[in-house]
């Protein structure tokens, strides 16, 4: 019954695209999530997602057909700025992130309200915040852009994997031995921005942090080396995203929150496994 229903859905190419895009985004966000969580950067992810929301509102007002062209550069720029302030002083950085994120949220909503021609503003806002009721509505260009950017992120991650580890583990050692730490931090910030813009299509801007944090935290409950945590985080994230998307298709629930719900459930399981493992 379930399988025949799924098989029916999968005859449509846009359903297949949705699944591919979802899996790729989940993969990227979980890989970088490990570093972001360990670097205490997860709050930057949260702030950036609100910036992306604001940028999306602006794009909607200006009437861009491909809003990614505006959202991507704005979010990347904010990532670089946030990283700068975050390094100068911890507390000030925190406040800066909070300011930028609520500011972007408020302005974004305001703009949408004032200028929107749509009759269903609250519906539009809800969609951008919590993700479309289905990512099946993604346009074809967006699908390809998502795939291309995800692959780029994956390749960058593989190339810089060892350096990302070193910079995450002990920045001052890296700096002392002549590594270009600033450059790698910049790279991490930019890639984070790209992932957030991508993930906004999948889960909406309020839920992006969940996609970044949960798989990493789950994996850290069980595994104790960077590589195993990274691999486990990727596997968990992809599994959760696949499950979430399938459930959402079958049950007609919103994609974003379904994926996050699965992520939370898996975190619970990992938490218990971790406790048991420590007990032995």
């Amino acid at each position: 019954m379930i399988f025949s229903k799924l098989a029916l859905y999968f005859q449509y190419p846009f359903v297949r695209y949705a699944l591919i895009v979802g899996v790729l985004i989940a993969l990227c966000s979980s890989l970088l999530g490990v570093s972001l969580v360990l670097k205490r950067f997860s709050f930057i992810g949260d702030g950036l997602s609100h910036v992306a929301f604001g940028a999306m509102a602006v794009a909607a007002v200006v009437g861009l057909t491909n809003d990614m062209l505006l959202i991507l550069p704005i979010t990347i720029l904010s990532a670089v700025l946030l990283l700068r302030t975050g390094q100068n002083a911890k507390i000030k950085g925190d406040a800066a992130v909070a300011m930028i994120s609520v500011g972007a949220l408020a302005i974004g909503y305001l703009l949408m309200n004032i200028f929107s021609t749509s009759s269903n503003i609250s519906g539009d806002v809800c969609t951008t915040l919590f993700g479309a009721t289905s990512i099946l509505t993604l346009s074809k260009e967006k699908v390809w852009l998502c795939i291309a950017l995800s692959l780029l992120v994956l390749i960058l991650f593989l190339i810089f994997y060892h350096r990302i580890f070193a910079v995450t583990f002990d920045e001052s050692f890296g700096r002392a031995t002549g590594m270009k730490v600033g450059l790698y931090n910049l790279l991490i910030a930019i890639v984070t921005a790209v992932i957030i813009v991508l993930a906004m299509n999948l889960v909406g801007s309020l839920l992006i942090s969940a996609l970044i944090i949960f798989p990493a935290l789950s994996a850290m409950r069980i595994f104790k080396s960077f590589r195993s945590v990274t691999v486990c985080s990727a596997v968990l994230s992809v599994t959760c995203a696949t499950l979430g998307i399938l459930i959402a298709i079958l049950a007609g629930t919103p994609v974003g929150s379904t994926i996050v719900a699965v992520d939370i459930a898996v975190f619970g399981v990992c938490y218990i496994v971790g406790l048991v493992k420590e007990g032995v």
Binding site: L158, R163, F169, D170, A176, T177, K224, S225
Partner: protein, 238 residues
């Protein structure tokens, strides 16, 4: 061959000067011990020499063909978080990165080097263990093995024995002396353990309200050296 020259160095934090007009140099093969009371600016000096901080004034020069990517560093306090998942092998290997250039992956010789250094530090059996589950002494050895992967020429060690028990302390000093003597690695070590400094070092840099730089023998004869080392000679812990 001179590896490092510091001239008229002034350093401090946010406009407050801690050290004024410091002059010293380190030659290949030296074992320089930097001594001084807590808060006298030893760690600050090391960080400035490494380029982690800017000096207020003065000159820091790496000569004799030593590049920054050829330095090994053992920090006093690392920002490493308690819950960081990292195996011993991953950490030691990361020391090889500085000589890696733009090549993204470790080569077989890097892995061999990491194994050798773990062997030498006596942590081979721990290589798959998680760093955060190790004892203080074991962690210190892991970080020293990482520093060794980063250099064949010069090691900077900031209080490498702090928090170690007497046995592990003696063992650590022995290892460092061996690296200096047998491998010809230049050592720059911060310590407030004057006994160890006088046992192993070839040169002493004493910082504080007064500054001394010179050979260990001269320091022992100097009035400053005698007054500072007299009470400390009995009990070496501090």
């Amino acid at each position: 061959m001179t590896y490092l020259t510091c001239q008229n160095l002034c350093l401090g934090y946010e406009g407050r000067e801690i050290l004024h007009d410091l002059n010293f140099s380190v030659n290949a093969g030296d074992y320089l011990c930097i001594v001084g009371e807590n808060g006298s600016g030893k760690s600050t000096l090391i960080k400035t020499v490494l380029g982690l901080r800017e000096p207020f004034a003065g000159y820091i020069g790496y000569d004799g063909g030593l590049r920054q990517t050829e330095i090994g560093y053992l920090p006093q306090q690392t920002d490493i978080q308690r819950d960081f998942p990292a195996s011993v092998r991953e950490i030691v290997l990361s020391g090889c990165l500085s000589s890696r250039g733009i090549c993204p992956f470790y080569r077989a010789e890097d892995k061999k080097r990491a194994e050798e250094n773990m062997e030498r530090m006596g942590i081979s059996e721990l290589s798959d263990r998680c760093y955060r589950d190790l004892s203080g002494g074991q962690q210190q050895r892991v970080l020293l093995a990482r520093a060794l992967c980063a250099t064949k020429k010069m090691l900077l060690l900031d209080e490498p024995v702090s928090g170690l028990d007497p046995f592990a302390t003696a063992e650590m000093y022995r290892l460092i002396a061996e690296l200096n003597r047998n491998d010809g690695i230049t050592v720059l070590m911060v310590s407030h353990d004057i006994g160890a400094a006088l046992t192993y070092a070839t040169h002493i840099l004493h910082i504080g309200s007064r500054i001394f730089f010179g050979k260990r023998e001269e320091y022992e004869k100097s009035e400053m050296g005698r007054s500072f080392s007299a009470p400390a000679k009995g009990g070496d812990e501090g």
